[in-house]
Symmetry: C2
Subunit: 411 residues, 2 copies
């Protein structure tokens, strides 16, 4: 182990979802957004890819999720069509027909089978899609698609709503001595509190991998990455994470029994974690990324519950915005998470600054704490000294801009 | 029934916690707050009263809660001493000693037994009480106490932190043909998401009532009132609701078997509901009261879960601030509440304005909706058409001022 395990993968500068062998992508503006920002994107694979997905647990599932489930019945996909600006959620039978029409149009224009196309949407809930815009956009899409990173950036741009920045990551790792590439693109911003899935995220890969193994890995990675972020505690109707692997890297087929599985899984998990953290950092109105590390809980599940309670606390989030070392709010959130905690032996650190030890306040420099909390990344460490359970969650601060953005979202 | 049942009680204009027979109260500034607002209050009963309490479920329980539990072991109280400006929470052994010292001083100055005194605190977590201020304040308290409503107002003022207005209510009802009076005072504002208890609330009553019956009634009323409000989803370390009944009204002892129990319980519940709604309306930064009514859930518990999810949604709360009829956010919150909902048959109304019927959008006047949502009270009605379960929850909008207040609370 040692050095080899630590460097299980390398980050590819300027990599993107088209870096894995076999993938092309593109994006354009078709008229669903009022601005001229891109609002339609597509990913295509040269071959039919093994694919896997996880979806929101919200009972109101948007029409495109149903279509994607339908396409993924056989565990294969060759293309993904995505629009932003309209969620096509709570749109009834017409919404379903529109989502299927999107799939059919994308299949026709991209030259793939209908049942190999996934559909995703994000934006306002309860309004019908302007299908004339969608159809014109899909018709124009093939000419906009390509295999270089700039063109892939148009895709990453097309899936955004109130996001400020694109969220992309690309890594390589070795399987059977062959280079395997894994990349991802995601969008987040508001209504971010994923539960078994996230907002839209797309992972491409060129490893040969068994579909069941891919689905299993996607689920595991989701639990410790996308499911551990929150912006505002609201779980969307449209959350979807889709992974496609082209199998063109030339490795022997990956399963959990493969000797390189651990390092591949680590690289895959890293892609998910980077995208998840990027969503948290770019939460609506956010000025910083907040990371909560829980140690010493009785179980990992307890640690997760506590981490998500702390990261979701409006009072913790506003204190972080104000760079206020108000550890009392952290403790109050730990104490209401609904899992066992011994209230007499808790340590809390803000970065390296110890503020509570054995549940007793520790004198600390307010100036030093202020300087630390004014940074663009804040880490909160809580040790419960009760067991071996641990978890990390990511979120952001709660700011005037979150209120401004959401007080006038539809208008 | 009919008229009699409907008018089971009357609201007493200008009534207060000293209106029930036997009670006096007062408040003063002792120096715990930086401003000159009152920060110490006391209630005293002429006789030892039957009493009951419910407390926060947060595992970090503040020192005064332990002292109050200790005093309430025999179900009796004669006085309550309360400070604001400092929560005396997560303050260790010194905090416990301070809370017991507050009890001893109050007992001595008010001329009652130590074990008949409850102690409550609210304010910043993790700082030791300035006991010199507390002792001087308690010494000065008897001279400030009285039986008229103006003096009681000084108490209601003394328990506030970032609250803007006092929260008081007084009603009378008939038991055995005798007039019985029930009154309450409360404080709320932030860290309001009670779980089995609320922030500080005090109910006084002069009915003769069995202690067990009082405790049972307090628990039931809490479940449908204080436990159904939220300001920010954060459950405090100091929540406490205490009820004292002097028994001086001259009625036969009340138990659930008494013929007037139902009307008494209704009056008691009304006192709790008024205080709970007043806390929600005066939530930190709030500009309006938001009420969520759920009907047609499979059970009352499901309805409560849904009502609390909707009222707690930051996206719903910001939409209410912006007077935006964004029913998609209401639906998204309903769908993530974790209880059974048929997503195909949901109706949503904003006041009288139908916006969703059978889970299909209904055309409505945006102007009319805007005018309604700009009011100081907004009612959201959701009918799930799935059963007989129903519940009501109360909260407030999420505003710039919530962020402002909480980004700089300690400083």
């Amino acid at each position: 182990m040692g050095q080899v395990a630590i460097q299980a993968f390398s980050i590819v500068d300027n990599g993107s979802i088209v870096s894995p062998l076999g993938f092309s992508a593109g994006g354009l503006h078709c008229g669903l957004k009022k601005t001229d920002r891109n609002d339609l994107g597509a990913i295509k694979c040269d071959v039919v890819a093994n694919a896997a997905a996880v979806y929101t647990t919200n009972v109101f599932q948007a029409a495109p999720l149903q279509v994607t489930r339908d396409s993924l019945k056989n565990g294969k996909l060759q293309a993904i069509i995505v629009n932003s600006g309209n969620a096509n959620a709570v749109t009834g039978k017409q919404g379903e027909e529109d989502a299927y029409a999107m799939r059919a149009a994308a299949a026709r224009e991209l030259g793939v089978a209908e049942e190999d196309v996934a559909v995703a949407s994000t934006g306002v809930i309860g309004e019908l899609l302007k299908m004339d815009c969608v159809h014109a956009g899909i018709k124009a899409m093939p000419a906009k698609m390509g295999k270089d990173t700039d063109v892939a950036g148009e895709f990453s741009q097309a899936i955004l709503t109130t996001d400020l920045v694109k969220k992309e990551i690309c890594v390589t790792t070795q399987v059977d001595g062959k280079q395997v590439t894994i990349a991802g693109a995601a969008k987040g911003s508001g209504m971010i509190h994923p539960n078994m899935a996230t907002m839209l995220a797309f992972v491409t890969c060129d490893a040969e991998i068994e579909q069941q193994a891919l689905q299993g890995l996607l689920g595991q990675s989701t639990d410790s990455t996308f499911n551990m972020i929150t912006v505002d505690g609201d779980t969307s109707t449209n959350d979807m994470l889709v992974a496609m692997s082209s199998g063109l890297a030339g490795n022997d087929i990956l399963t959990p029994k493969h000797k390189d599985w651990e390092s591949f899984a680590e690289a895959f998990n890293y892609v998910c974690e980077v995208l998840a953290k990027a969503i948290a950092r770019d939460g609506e109105g956010a000025t910083k990324l907040v990371e909560v590390n829980i140690q010493g809980a009785d179980t990992d599940d307890s640690a997760r519950a506590i981490a998500k309670t702390v990261i979701g606390s409006s009072l913790v989030k506003t204190a972080m915005f104000g760079a206020d070392a108000n550890w009392g709010r952290i403790i109050a959130a730990v104490g209401r998470a609904g899992v066992p905690v011994n209230p007499e032996q808790v340590d809390v650190k803000l970065g390296d600054i110890l503020v509570l030890q054995g549940s007793r306040p520790v004198a600390f420099s307010e100036d030093e704490a202020l300087a630390y909390l004014q940074g663009d990344t804040v880490q909160i460490f809580v040790n419960l000294h009760g067991g071996t359970g641990k978890a990390t969650a990511w979120g952001c601060d709660l700011t005037y801009d979150y209120v401004r953005i959401n007080a006038a979202y539809r208008t």
